[in-house]
């Protein structure tokens, strides 16, 4: 018991951890019981339905020291590219600029723009071109990246990118309605991001 005393003291002194005593319990447990109870009271004949948290592995609580690795989940609608993979660093194309995420990063919600997502694992670097989405960095050194579409960078044909860029630039100059203009602008943005990713 006293072995852990020093830990609590150090936590209290830094005041970084807002709920030092609740870390042992998964946070989800209390929420669900509330729902199930009120359900049973109102509709005793039907079993209460499941909720998404029942199908999810519980995330670990924030550790007291910064872990050496970052756990990354990178998901797309049609697959989970990385799930629970431990890496050294990821660089995320946020709308505010490239954002490097290391273990112990402050918790953040970031919107993504078309650009390169790179995952650094030792000396290996895998690069993806993502079309946009969201990224969350949690306090427990978990990073969730959700993109609508992503391809490994070496699957992209540079010639087609140049052609697409030229096409959309021309479309942007000839566009008459607002909708056409917006569509062409999106095309130009994506292709110039692709171009920058390939050349840079």
């Amino acid at each position: 018991m006293f072995r852990r005393g020093s830990q609590f003291l150090s936590r209290a002194s830094t005041m970084r951890w807002r709920r030092p005593f609740s870390t042992d319990l998964p946070a989800e447990a209390s929420k669900d019981s509330n729902f199930v109870e009120s359900w049973r009271k109102a509709i005793p004949t039907v079993e209460p339905p499941s909720t998404p948290s029942a199908f999810m592995a519980t995330r670990p609580a924030t550790p007291s020291s910064i872990p050496s690795k970052l756990t990354v989940n990178f998901v797309l609608p049609y697959s989970s590219e990385l799930s629970g993979k431990e890496v050294d660093m990821v660089i995320i194309p946020a709308t505010t600029g490239q954002m490097g995420v290391l273990p112990g990063h402050v918790s953040t919600i970031a919107e993504l723009k078309p650009g390169i997502l790179s995952v650094h694992e030792g000396n290996d670097v895998s690069k993806y071109f993502v079309s946009g989405g969201f990224a969350y960095v949690h306090a427990n050194s978990f990073a969730d990246i959700i993109a609508v579409e992503a391809v490994p960078l070496d699957h992209i044909n540079p010639n087609l990118v140049q052609k697409g860029l030229a096409d959309f630039t021309q479309k942007l100059s000839t566009a008459s309605t607002d909708v056409e203009k917006a569509e062409a602008q999106i095309g130009v943005d994506v292709h110039s991001a692709l171009n920058a990713a390939l050349t840079g």
Partner: protein, 324 residues
């Protein structure tokens, strides 16, 4: 067409099977009465049984074919559903799972199939939706339905027509993809006012079992309010937000994206459950048809044998009368 044929045949069989003493009634319905058989009209009873055997055999063929179709569709859609399971988890990790949240405008998104003959999945989602409606009803609260699929519409139109806000059908005409679902989600977000969206669907577990599930998506205003008041989403205030100028704008994008991702997974899970349920329903009905065919064959053979025996006895007794 196949379904109409099934229904017609089903009706023909329903009457003798429902009676308390099936064996007797079944026989008497096949052989209208003992009198005609004895008075020499023997072929008519075997004719009726033969016809019925033929139709049972046809039903069996149809149900077997439907089972095969469901099995092949299931295999295709199951992998897609399983691949999409990673998609909603980050949102639940960030925004939490809040089925018990108490808000004014509830919108229940009921996901069901367009076609029947798939066991209880449609009535399950309707039942859960009604229960959600009841659970969240109260003074100055609003509950609306958004319905996906023909079958839930048919059931909910009967008693809660005034609460139905939006109906969408024929979702599965083309194979489901994210673009299509996000357009649909956008449609719902534009046309319906809500504080909380509750998506009711059947989560696929195995071919024979599915779990009715409710996912909750909150509106950006509610998320912000909860985060500020330090309720269930209190942790959200600790996050730094990068992106658009204001926090509200990012939250708006975030919840819309969350809804489309949740919907995509829900629609796929429900479609997978539908195919699984249809497969097992069709499997049991073809087995039933096989059993019925066995019983009918037995009856048919017995009747035939009886008539042959009667004829023989008549001939023999006639001959012996002549001899004697």
């Amino acid at each position: 067409m196949a379904m109409a044929a099934l229904r017609r045949e089903g009706r023909r069989f329903a009457t003798p099977l429902i009676s308390p003493n099936p064996a007797n009634v079944f026989r008497s319905s096949l052989i209208p009465s003992e009198e005609p058989v004895l008075s020499g009209v023997r072929c008519i009873s075997t004719q009726v049984v033969r016809n019925r055997m033929k139709s049972v055999k046809n039903i069996q063929k149809i149900t077997k074919a439907m089972k095969m179709v469901a099995a092949s569709k299931l295999r295709a859609i199951q992998t897609r559903a399983e691949n999409s399971r990673g998609l909603w988890q980050p949102f639940t990790a960030l925004l939490g799972d809040t089925p018990s949240i108490d808000v004014k405008k509830n919108v229940i998104v009921t996901i069901s199939a367009d076609k029947g003959l798939c066991g209880g999945i449609n009535s399950t989602s309707v039942k859960i939706s009604r229960a959600m409606h009841k659970l969240n009803s109260g003074p100055d609260k609003e509950n609306k339905y958004v319905i996906l699929g023909e079958k839930a519409k048919a059931q909910l139109v009967r008693d809660s027509k005034k609460d139905i806000e939006l109906v969408m059908t024929e979702l599965q005409k083309n194979p489901l993809n994210y673009t299509q679902v996000s357009v649909m989600a956008d449609d719902i977000l534009k046309n319906v006012e809500f504080d909380a969206l509750r998506i009711v669907y059947n989560k696929f577990q195995s071919v024979v079992s599915f779990l009715p599930t409710v996912s909750t998506v909150l509106s950006p205003e509610v998320v912000e309010r909860e985060a500020e008041s330090g309720g269930k989403l209190g942790d959200l205030d600790l996050y730094e937000i990068e992106g658009a100028e204001t926090k509200a704008e990012v939250l708006q994008n975030l919840t819309e994206f969350q809804f489309s991702c949740m919907m995509y997974n829900a629609v796929l899970e429900n479609a997978t459950s539908e195919q699984g349920a249809r497969m097992s329903a069709m499997d049991s009905s073809s087995r039933n048809a096989g059993d019925m065919l066995d019983r009918l064959t037995l009856t048919y053979n017995r009747t035939r044998q009886a008539s042959i025996t009667t004829e023989l006895i008549e001939i023999i007794s006639g001959a012996s009368a002549l001899e004697g």
